[in-house]
């Protein structure tokens, strides 16, 4: 049994919005709504969803960058609280992140060597003289960068090289789980493939677990064993890679998969969207507390029950979880 690295239960993150009028009740934007999540050692979990689904906020809460209003986060069995400095320090060493903007995630006034070294020193304390430089060079080599580039500044490098440097910084202290927040979305297509391969290699070489957040379903399919689908802050489906892509069950997952254009003119010439109502074909911001299913306005299969009761995650067999009242009745295959 692989070790459970990350265990998230009932995580809720809300942001305050303007009050109604001067003294009305304060309104809240619920970015993450009672989300459960687990990542085991060496496992690769993908989080997919569109804008406003809360995936980035979820990542930030896990990284202790924002304070959740509810729920628990456990790292290797220990409950993470922002006031427990020692536990947090240990978690930081083992849980690292790669962000979306390759150039923006590196301090423009520091060379990439300095950025990597800073991570090493911050996470593993002072090093023996010369040892730090050696480890920085080793880390750069491991991500496919010539160690001579350590003296360059981020704006002198290409997007792909910067992202490699960011990965080098993230792995220099040998973390056990790497959170990738849209880590390849800002890269050129030809470079995306390189970085995806790199992440895969690092996974296999070091037994690194991945929490891969992306809106690009094809990349998630390539990289992740398990997939979690978020809609307006709630988990609507969670399943293994095979289950999700071969037999998606939640109406939103189906719509999402159907909307991805295949690079194949014969297939792509059909009208794009299947099974999603045109109504207000955009996710509304999650302001009002929705009593029923969040997907209701767009769901072509909605019925009266969906309006009043929020569906809970149910096991559809084989570990596939779905939050939908009607999942049993809906046709299975895509």
């Amino acid at each position: 049994m692989r070790e459970q690295l990350l265990k998230v239960r009932g995580l809720t993150v809300r942001f305050p919005m303007r009050r109604e009028g001067l003294i009305g009740p304060r309104r809240w934007l619920t970015a993450v709504d009672a989300v459960d999540l687990e990542v085991a050692a060496g496992q690769s979990v993908g989080i997919v969803g569109e804008s406003g689904c809360g995936k980035s906020t979820l990542a930030r809460a896990i990284l202790a960058l924002v304070v959740p209003q509810g729920g628990t986060i456990e790292w290797r069995g220990q409950s993470m609280r922002l006031d427990d400095a020692a536990a947090l320090k240990q978690m930081r060493r083992e849980l690292q992140v790669v962000f979306q903007d390759p150039v923006g995630s590196l301090d423009p006034r520091m060379t990439i060597g300095e950025s990597v070294a800073e991570a090493l020193l911050a996470l593993q304390g002072p090093q023996a003289p010369g040892a730090a430089a050696t480890r920085v060079a080793a880390s750069l080599r491991e991500v496919g960068l010539d160690p001579a580039l350590a003296t360059r500044y981020p704006h002198e490098l290409s997007g792909g090289q910067c992202q490699r440097a960011a990965i080098a910084r993230a792995i220099v202290a040998r973390p056990r789980l790497l959170v990738c927040d849209e880590a390849v979305s800002a890269l050129d297509v030809s470079v995306q493939a390189q970085i995806v391969n790199l992440l895969d290699e690092l996974r296999q070489r070091h037994g690194l677990a991945l929490l891969f957040i992306s809106h690009n379903l094809a990349v998630v399919r390539h990289l992740c064993d398990e997939v979690v689908v978020l809609y307006l802050g709630r988990v609507v489906e969670r399943a293994s890679r095979e289950q999700i892509f071969a037999a998606p069950r939640h109406p939103y997952t189906r719509a999402l998969l159907a909307a991805v254009p295949h690079p194949d003119p014969a297939q792509a010439a059909r009208t794009g969207l299947v099974a999603m109502r045109e109504v207000d074909a955009v996710p509304q911001s999650a302001t009002a507390a929705v009593p029923g299913c969040a997907y209701l306005p767009r769901c072509p299969f909605a019925e009266s029950n969906c309006r009043t009761q929020a569906p809970r995650l149910e096991d559809a067999g084989g570990g596939q979880l779905i939050a939908c009242h009607r999942w049993r009745e809906l046709p299975v295959a895509r």
């Binding site: 569109e50 804008s51 290409s158 997007g159 792909g160 090289q161 050129d188 297509v189 030809s190 470079v191 995306q192 493939a193 390189q194 995806v196 391969n197 895969d200 809106h215 690009n216 379903l217 094809a218 990349v219 399919r221 390539h222 892509f245 719509a255 999402l256 998969l257 909307a259 991805v260 254009p261 295949h262 690079p263 194949d264 003119p265 014969a266 297939q267 792509a268 010439a269 009208t271 794009g272 969207l273 999603m276 045109e278 109504v279 207000d280 074909a281 955009v282 996710p283």
Partner: protein
């Protein structure tokens, strides 16, 4: 080269004067767009795909200059006087850019921005302008068009904003729309709807130029595809043939490196080594040679010229097997 091409670009070069010397963003590009056709321009960063059209329509930044010939419906655009240029640009040719929030003025309502397009040019009176703006919003499948007219850009979602920008483009009933990465910033479900709108416009006879790096989008809407690399066109072909049998190694490698949902999983993605060239990077031979798996000596020293066979063309010394170009 047909004479009824709506847009005919010949040997267009775009250069920028920078403190470090001249940057050639577009190098002697020749292409054409026919009426009612969708041409997709595929390229990564540094390929010059955006500058190509900014240069064609006189929208370059201060230090840029364009040479060559750009004819729209027979009329030469390069070097044209500002008056005639403006009468083409914005009325017969409309451009749509990537980030709709940048194209929309934050402090004006959508309705105002739509009607402004025709009122400013004295094309329609106020009543007709308003009627047409409603039509345009319906044409882009904007939910609840009447309400949208009174709203401000920040009250709309990303997808709605992009559709508003498309509606603005349609206001003057143009012959050609040039869309630069119109769906890149959008969710995939919204992208599908925006692409539907573009397809409908194309089916109604509108010519469309779609600049993108997303091959899925290309497959879904393009009739012809031109692939750009380092300022030049390296391949152009009808869409089905390009995808079925790419002739240029770059196109082939690009197609192989894109992860897909419909093919069996592989261990590694077939990536292209190295990185895309910087804009204006200069090289004696083929710009793709450093990254090309089948590069020969000749590729590094001599620049391959664009050769045509039927309605396909490729610029390569060693085109892929299985095409009319293979040696």
């Amino acid at each position: 080269m047909t004479s009824d091409a709506l847009l005919a670009v010949r040997d267009l070069s775009v250069e920028f004067a920078t403190p470090r010397g001249v940057v050639r963003a577009v190098r002697e590009v020749t292409l054409e767009v026919r009426r009612g056709e969708c041409l997709a321009i595929v390229g990564e960063s540094g390929s010059g795909k955006s500058q190509l059209f900014l240069g064609s329509f006189g929208l370059l930044a201060a230090r840029g200059s364009a040479r060559g010939s750009v004819r729209f419906d027979g009329q030469q655009l390069l070097g044209a006087d500002p008056g005639p240029l403006r009468s083409v640009r914005g009325t017969r040719v409309a451009m749509v850019f990537q980030d709709p929030m940048n194209s929309l003025t934050p402090h004006l309502t959508i309705g105002r921005q739509l009607t402004e397009v025709v009122l400013d040019r004295d094309l329609l009176g106020p009543q007709e302008a308003r009627a047409r703006s409603l039509e345009a919003l319906r044409a882009v499948r904007m939910p609840d068009p009447a309400a949208r007219l009174r709203q401000y850009p920040h009250e709309l979602s990303g997808g709605q904003r992009q559709r508003a920008v498309l509606a603005m483009a349609l206001m003057t009933e143009p012959d050609l729309i040039v869309a630069d990465e119109p769906t890149t910033a959008l969710d995939v479900t919204v992208q599908a709807q925006v692409l539907d709108v573009l397809r409908e416009a194309r089916d109604r006879g509108l010519a469309l130029v779609l600049i993108t790096h997303d091959l899925g989008v290309v497959a879904g809407i393009a009739d012809r595809v031109a692939v750009m690399y380092s300022g030049r066109i390296v391949e152009s072909a009808p869409v089905r043939e390009l995808f079925a049998a790419p002739a240029h190694p770059y196109t082939a490698a690009l197609l192989r490196s894109v992860p897909r949902l419909d093919t069996p999983l592989a261990d590694r993605l077939a990536s292209i080594e190295g990185q895309p060239p910087h804009p204006g990077e200069e090289r004696p031979g083929c710009a793709f040679a450093p990254r090309c798996p089948s590069a020969m000596e000749a590729c590094r020293s001599s620049l391959p010229r664009l050769r045509s066979a039927g309605d396909r063309s490729v610029a390569c010394h060693l085109p892929c097997a299985g095409t009319a170009f293979a040696p």
